[in-house]
Symmetry: C2
DNA sequence: TCCTTATTTTAGGCTTTCCTAAATTATTGT
DNA sequence: ACAATAATTTAGGAAAGCCTAAAATAAGGA
């Protein structure tokens, strides 16, 4: 009933999962940008995923995609692998923060359930990842997301902007023009301990920006 | 100059390496049997490998294949990954002997050089694998193979028959008909401590056979 | 040696996943 | 509302790996 899925399909589902929120579907273009391929290729794959039995995504022309229950299951399984691997590489093999992501992205597709179990046990069945993000449980329940101040985020962390303190209209304007609005997906690229600046990427615009503490202290983010 | 190679190509090169000896090239049919695909597919792939730049195999129609220096480098790198992974899974993650092989076969293609370094260090830069086989060094030198009596081999070990004591013509005949000749690749499947019998598989014939101590004591094997 | 049998290769095709170029559908500014 | 622009989809095609059936070659026995 559950046919195994290719590594590439896992990649697509993972991206769609991360691009999707309560009431927001993922668009062809966004997926293409994240995966660094052409939009046409994405349409192609999406249609195949929707035609699977059971379907892995819910697709309607020109209206983006969402995951079905089956698709989400696969995405969460992959995500669990990823998070456990990041922790494992850091804690047990001495990887630095910026090294773990790439390795985990390759390993997540090939480790067995047994490998997952073993490293989970060795790590003490953690519920939070290297960056504080929730790790889906073995039964693929996702713990509630945690609100964290952007100011406290560090390189490698990714999340969705949840709220912005709206005292200063000028600041709000500035944030708006840079896409730093609730719902925006961001990733911290670099941190400077000297001036407390954060170098971040705003996924929507595929744009990078450096923010000072005065700004980062006003923004709250759900870790992904 | 060194273009990266697909996982499947690594599989082919690994198999050709294991099927090749001093003066024996690997045949299309053998490779097909090991990889469980059709001979036609093997010819196809072999020809592509020979057409690479630089070529990874040395191919002449109807005369089997051998590895070029480049091809051997890739095979040894993969083999090193495999052996280190087996050791790692067993020693650090508590895998049993019969569980390590399959997992290592998948992981060997995706771990980075850094991962290799890290587990090698954690394991104390070992030179012998889980089954006593030589592990290619970081510079891809293969330690000299060790001659071991089949009688002393245990489940999971694999090797190539090197020599057979030829006192007993009847025994020789028996060994011959079962493919137990120098060059034959074998794998120990089971060991019975009560009667000292070994249950082994002869790869060439994809045939299994149980041998008593009287026989196993006469056969010498190079561990792979 | 010559014929039968076994092995290898060629030919033609299929599936995945990607591409570019062209066509279609949405969105946006006036 | 409607034209210009942006996003998406369709069409046609390529490379990697696999397959089966048929053709070519090698090996072995009388």
């Amino acid at each position: 009933m559950e046919s195994p899925v290719s590594e590439r399909v896992e990649d697509y589902l993972k991206v769609i999962y991360s691009l999707t929120t309560e009431d927001e579907r993922a668009s062809t273009g966004e997926i293409a940008r994240v995966l660094q391929i052409s939009p046409a290729s994405v349409t192609d794959m999406i249609q195949r995923l929707a035609a699977e039995n059971p379907p892995l995504v819910d697709y309607r022309k020109h209206q983006g995609v969402g995951l079905t229950e089956e698709g989400e299951k696969v995405a969460l399984e992959t995500l669990r692998h990823h998070r456990l691997l990041e922790l494992f590489l850091h804690e047990l093999l001495g990887y630095s923060w910026d090294q773990v992501h790439e390795e985990a992205d390759r390993l997540e597709h090939v480790i067995s359930e047994y490998f997952e179990e073993r490293i989970s046990e060795v790590l003490g069945d953690p519920e939070k990842g290297l960056y504080g993000e929730p790790i889906p449980s073995e039964e693929l329940h996702v713990p509630v997301r945690e609100d964290i101040c952007l100011h406290d985020m560090r390189p490698g962390q990714r999340g969705v902007i949840q709220s912005v303190k709206d005292d200063d209209p000028g600041l709000l304007q500035y944030l708006q023009t840079n896409g730093l609005v609730p719902g925006a997906r961001i990733e911290v690229l670099d941190y400077s301990p000297y001036d407390n600046n954060l170098h971040i990427r705003v996924k929507e615009h595929d744009q990078e920006i450096v923010l000072g503490a005065a700004v980062t202290a006003q923004i709250f983010v759900d870790l992904q």
